[in-house]
């Protein structure tokens, strides 16, 4: 599926086309389930979240038209935001990620292999310019849904310190990506 194909499916979904919605699910649900699993770290909860994500996609597909994102980025953003909302809404994060991924297909995605193959994305170059633990914190937030609170506990620093460090890191990152 090209990005154009996915765009068409999202636009048709916004017009209540169920066949397009079925195709969209068939072509993107594995990626979005991967997002839910990684952020939520719990398989049953990820399955529940995936359902809610596609309900959102059906009801909010028209929002894609006003977004600047590529179609798959928009879908992943919907899934990530929903999964993070779920994590923030509960008291303690399930950290049984290994168990959740036990049944998962561990082979890297085509995109990941391109990255592994040496064609390095600029964001990784810029993350390398940050101190290692701060870069790890940024990655942990994006990929694992870690909050300031989680990160402060993990790195054993006060919450405000973590916030200040990450805010500065984010501005450095932006500056690096813009040069």
């Amino acid at each position: 599926m090209t990005p154009q194909d996915i765009t068409k499916l999202i636009v048709r979904t916004s017009m209540r086309d169920r066949e397009a919605f079925d195709l969209l699910y068939r072509n993107t649900s594995a990626k979005l389930f991967g997002v839910c699993l990684r952020v939520l770290g719990d398989r049953a909860e990820a399955e529940e979240a995936l359902q809610e994500v596609f309900v959102k996609i059906w009801t909010k597909a028209d929002r894609f038209a006003v977004s600047d994102l590529s179609p798959i980025s928009w879908l992943v953003a919907v899934a990530r935001n929903h999964a993070v909302d779920r994590v923030r809404g509960r008291k303690h994060k399930t950290t049984d990620i290994d168990a959740a991924l036990d049944v998962a297909d561990p082979s890297p995605t085509p995109e990941a292999m391109v990255v592994a193959g040496g064609q390095r994305e600029q964001v990784y170059v810029c993350l390398d310019e940050l101190e290692a633990d701060r870069a790890a914190a940024v990655r942990g937030a994006y990929l694992d849904g870690d909050s300031y609170l989680d990160l402060a506990a993990r790195h054993n620093v006060p919450l405000n310190t973590m916030r200040t460090w990450l805010r500065r890191s984010l501005m450095k990152l932006r500056e690096c990506l813009e040069r």
Binding site: K31, L50, E131, L151
Partner: protein
């Protein structure tokens, strides 16, 4: 974690908030506030999209995992509990949800069509003449129009049922044939009824299942030639 520059002022402002929202660093309350701003402020939404794009390469690390087989049926049950799960209908083409639209729209449509269609239909109809109707609506939107198509005139008649564009915005009518990109028919004029000429290539070419859609656009219409705002009503052509 320590290093030079710890005495600098802490960065703040909307772009920092947008980045924190995208990374998911905030509490539930802070996220809810940020989400409201995304809905309400186009500028803030753009900052959020900017950070989504910056971090996008990291998303390659999300490993694809095929979800269990029953999940899609559960989604369909949540969304379409009153109807059968979507199965692929043989030869029904892309716009098979027409059946759904029909069942949704026909109840109210039947009563209206006879009345609304009258001004658009002239009595002596040659055999090659085709007249069709589409009921335009969408979930979560109060915008409703009925579109009448007459192959002889190549015009569509529009009948306004409900919903108005916000100040400084226009409704724009689009036609979508099959898998093609939407083609603009024009800005929807105000008032109860209106006639708009179809684009030249379409005047004789409309078929059952072709879709009309209305999007919200800046005053004067989409600057790009494609819909840029949310679709607030859509529907497929059916026979009268």
């Amino acid at each position: 974690m320590s290093g030079a520059g710890e005495m600098e002022r802490e960065p703040e402002g909307d772009d920092v908030l947008a980045a924190e929202y995208v990374l998911g660093l905030q509490t539930a309350e802070e996220r809810a506030a940020a989400q409201r701003r995304v809905e309400e402020s186009r500028d803030f939404a753009r900052l959020v999209d900017g950070w989504e794009m910056r971090f996008w390469p990291l998303a390659a690390e999300f490993v694809e995992v095929t979800p269990p087989a029953g999940i899609k049926a559960q989604i369909d049950r949540r969304l379409f509990s009153s109807s059968a799960p979507a199965t692929v209908k043989q030869g029904s083409g892309f716009w098979s949800s027409l059946a759904v639209w029909r069942t949704l729209a026909l109840g109210s449509l039947a009563a209206l069509v006879a009345f609304v269609a009258l001004p658009f239909i002239d009595p002596p109809a040659p055999q090659s003449r085709e007249q069709m109707v589409a009921s335009l609506a969408a979930e979560g939107s109060n915008v409703q129009y009925i579109v009448m198509y007459d192959s002889q005139t190549g015009e569509v008649g529009l009948s306004h049922l409900s919903g108005e564009p916000a100040t400084g915005r226009d409704f724009q009518l689009w036609v979508i044939k099959g898998t093609n990109a939407p083609k603009s028919v024009g800005i929807v004029p105000g008032g109860q009824t209106a006639r708009i000429a179809l684009p030249d290539a379409m005047t004789k070419a409309m078929e059952i299942g072709d879709v009309f859609a209305i999007s919200v656009e800046p005053a004067g219409g989409s600057p790009t030639g494609q819909p840029t705002g949310p679709v607030v009503a859509a529907g497929g052509l059916t026979e009268i």
